[in-house]
């Protein structure tokens, strides 16, 4: 057997291994090693400076009794429930508009994509100022219109929707591009045939555009689900997880456990558990959306 492997290696083209070496090294350093090390950490207590201590399944016991972590998962799900439909509707509507022959089409496409490339921290600080209760532009406009101020990020029931609106504004450009690609791949003859049959604009949109975008829709839903599950910068910068833990996302909670409180083992346990949840959710989504 060993001789066979040696023979195989001797016969193979070494230059191929050399060429793939940079990827293999980076994969080993930044993916395989951290993943393997995190798995070991699951069964240990470690605060970086003192030696690791074997705790068996104690981290799992803590996880299943940790009300705050489940609150963080609940918050993340709330965010996804608001964010994904909002994102799909806006991205689709804007993509359809930008697919028409309108003036300055290129300019608008660039403008909508701009927030995607701007740093999340910068955007969050900007929106923090827009949302400020006393001095924010949004509340100043509301006051001038004679409407009451909205506690955008100061009220537990408003804070997560406010963050979802901001995240939608930031990410919608990416999904507009994806939908535009999908729209441009829909054969024109379908619309021409529908027009001959007397279909209205709405009927064309609903019976041709939407079903034809099914594969793009699957991609958008999965990407925004994974993106939504990794919600971190926005609550970290804007609310710190408050008010009353209403914006504490699962990622923020894991970060706090690891880097604020030094519970590396517990954070690794939470991380694996959370990755498992994402895997299950994406699997279900893929089946449901694809079938439709």
């Amino acid at each position: 057997m060993l001789a066979y492997v040696k023979q195989k290696i001797k016969k193979s083209d070494k230059i191929g291994y050399l060429m793939s070496l940079p990827y293999l090294v980076s994969f080993a350093l930044f993916v395989a090693f951290p993943l393997g090390f995190s798995f070991i950490l699951i069964f240990h207590k470690w605060n970086v400076i003192t030696p690791m201590r074997w705790v068996g399944l104690k981290n799992f016991y803590r996880l299943f009794h940790d009300v705050e972590f489940f609150r963080a998962i609940y918050n993340t799900v709330v965010f996804l429930i608001i964010h994904i439909p909002l994102q799909i509707v806006f991205a689709l509507v804007i993509a359809v508009l930008l697919n028409q022959k309108i003036k300055l089409r290129g300019f608008f496409r660039a403008v909508f994509f701009m927030p995607v490339i701007v740093s999340g921290v910068v955007i969050t600080i900007l929106w923090q100022q827009l949302y400020a209760y006393e001095t924010g532009v949004l509340n100043l406009i509301l006051t001038q219109l004679g409407l009451p101020k909205i506690p955008w990020i100061n009220d537990p029931s408003w804070a997560m929707p406010s963050i979802a609106i901001m995240a939608t504004w930031k990410n919608v450009g990416l999904y507009i591009v994806l939908f535009l690609v999908g729209l441009q791949n829909i054969p024109k003859y379908l619309y021409e045939s529908a027009e001959l049959d007397g279909a209205t604009a709405w009927q064309k949109f609903w019976y041709i555009t939407v079903p034809s975008l099914n594969s793009t829709m699957v991609l958008v839903v999965i990407l925004s689900t994974i993106g939504g599950f990794s919600l971190f910068i926005e609550p970290f910068v804007m609310t710190g997880g408050g008010p009353m833990n209403s914006t504490l996302s699962a990622m923020l909670y894991i970060y706090n456990q690891a880097f604020y409180f030094g519970h590396m083992g517990y954070a690794a346990t939470l991380g694996f558990f959370f990755a498992f949840i994402i895997f299950i959710v994406v699997l279900i989504q893929k089946r449901v959306v694809e079938r439709k």
């Binding site: 070494k14 970086v48 100022q129 209760y133 006393e134 001095t135 997880g241 408050g242 009353m244 409180f261």
Partner: protein, 435 residues
């Protein structure tokens, strides 16, 4: 071809390895062979002070030169020091040690026990009061930190706003503070907006925010107690409840806004008071408008409280790290950093209060307090300060208190009694988990 590949690969590996080892060699050469490395805080004033003191030391002790470095940039000094202990790259001595993080440093075996030096007690007790020194004692009975400076947390107030509202400082009790707030938080110019708030605190539930509202008020209301006694929770008491209720009333009556302000609202004269330490004096002198008038008063106390007014001292101390090759020299240098001359320069350059007895009557400091009378308030308060407990998981404990504070005080979702009880229970669970 094969031969070339097998030749190239070891060469690349060798180049990488030698590059790494050369880097380490370079580092070792840069460090003085018989010297000490000293880390100070990175703010300009403390760096200036450290530079001056190191220069003077190096002139007097050329045999053990000190190399000065500022603490590497990070979210907090504690993070940097923990990373340095983990990586065994600590300096010999550091002067920005927060007592709240000492337990972790000691558990990691990173610090040198200072009371093993024969002159530790005599030198330190000449400078610091015995009860104050005791607050820095570790669980094992040893001392790993040299008391250096304290920044008593007090209340700054805007004299013009107080005058306009007809409020007479100082506001000694909670009810005086609340009735002053009632007069101040008004729409004086009739534009439909509140002109001034009584006080503002960041509403984000960040653990260290409590060091500037709940904690100094709790120390005051409890007559100088901290959160723990002999490693047991003691903060679930009436003092905590009173503090929660006071701040809850402030928010409920609209004297403190539930918002996030950008910029310094105290200097912008939108706040009548601000809870802060002496560093705010230097900040005001540098950035406040020319006609800005301010005063300083102690933390208000509950109406039924009798006794001295204590507060949080936000102490920063000096420690020597275990990996030092020159413990005696490091100890001598540490003593130089808390010498009378160094303390005088600490006041003059940084406007921070050294932990030293008889500060106001000591001839070395009289000129300073004469030139800056507002700093006298801090010097008077300094002996009545408390630090934080040297217990494990302190950040997590403050985080829990912060969450209960937010729920009860800011959003009024539960009565103070319940919030304090919940906090104590949660702290117990967390400590049990972390054991």
């Amino acid at each position: 071809m094969k031969f070339k590949i097998f030749l190239i690969l070891p060469i690349i590996a060798w180049l990488l390895l030698t590059a790494c080892s050369k880097g380490q060699q370079g580092k070792a050469e840069a460090k003085p062979r018989r010297g000490l490395t000293y880390w100070c805080a990175s703010n300009p004033q403390e760096y200036k002070l450290a530079k001056e003191l190191v220069k003077a030391w190096n002139q007097r002790h050329p045999e053990i030169p000190v190399k000065l470095q500022t603490l590497p940039a990070s979210q907090s000094s504690e993070e940097v020091l923990l990373a340095a202990i983990a990586g065994k790259t600590t300096p010999d001595i550091c002067s920005n040690m927060w007592p709240g993080a000492m337990d972790e440093f000691i558990a990691a075996g990173g610090l040198l026990r200072l009371d093993t030096f024969p002159d530790f007690r005599s030198y330190v007790t000449e400078r610091v009061m015995e009860d104050q020194l005791k607050t820095f004692q570790a669980k094992d009975g040893g001392y790993y930190q040299l008391p250096w400076k304290t920044n008593p947390i007090m209340v700054f107030y805007n004299k013009k706003i107080f005058r306009k509202a007809g409020v007479q400082p100082p506001l000694v009790t909670y009810s005086q503070f609340l009735s002053a707030a009632q007069k101040i938080v008004q729409d004086f110019d009739g534009d439909g907006q509140i002109d001034h708030w009584m006080l503002y605190r960041d509403i984000k539930p960040i653990w260290w925010q409590r060091l500037f509202d709940y904690y100094p008020f709790y120390i005051c209301a409890s007559g100088g107690r901290t959160l723990f006694e002999a490693d047991s929770i003691v903060f679930n008491n009436q003092a905590s409840v009173k503090v929660f209720r006071f701040f809850q009333t402030m928010y409920r009556r609209g004297y403190m806004p539930v918002t996030q302000f950008q910029g310094d609202q105290f200097l912008a004269e939108r706040l009548a008071t601000q809870i802060s330490g002496p560093w705010l004096v230097a900040h005001i002198q540098k950035f406040a408008p020319a006609d800005f008038e301010y005063g300083i008063m102690p933390i208000p106390k509950p109406d039924d409280y009798q006794g001295a007014v204590y507060t949080y001292g936000d102490p920063k101390n000096i420690s020597i790290f275990n990996n030092t090759k020159h413990p005696r020299a490091a100890w001598q240098f540490a003593k130089w950093l808390i010498s009378r001359h160094a303390d005088q320069r600490l006041l003059e350059i940084c406007d921070q209060i050294p932990m030293r007895k008889n500060l106001l009557s000591d001839s070395s400091f009289i000129a300073y307090f004469k030139a800056k009378p507002q700093m006298k308030m801090f010097a008077l308060q300094a002996p009545f300060t408390r630090g934080v407990d040297g217990v494990a998981d302190l950040k997590e404990i403050f985080n829990i208190i912060s969450q209960e504070y937010e729920a009860s005080v800011i959003y009024g979702r539960r009565p103070p009694e319940e919030a304090i009880e919940r906090a104590a229970k949660r702290v117990k669970v967390i400590r049990e988990w972390n054991r």
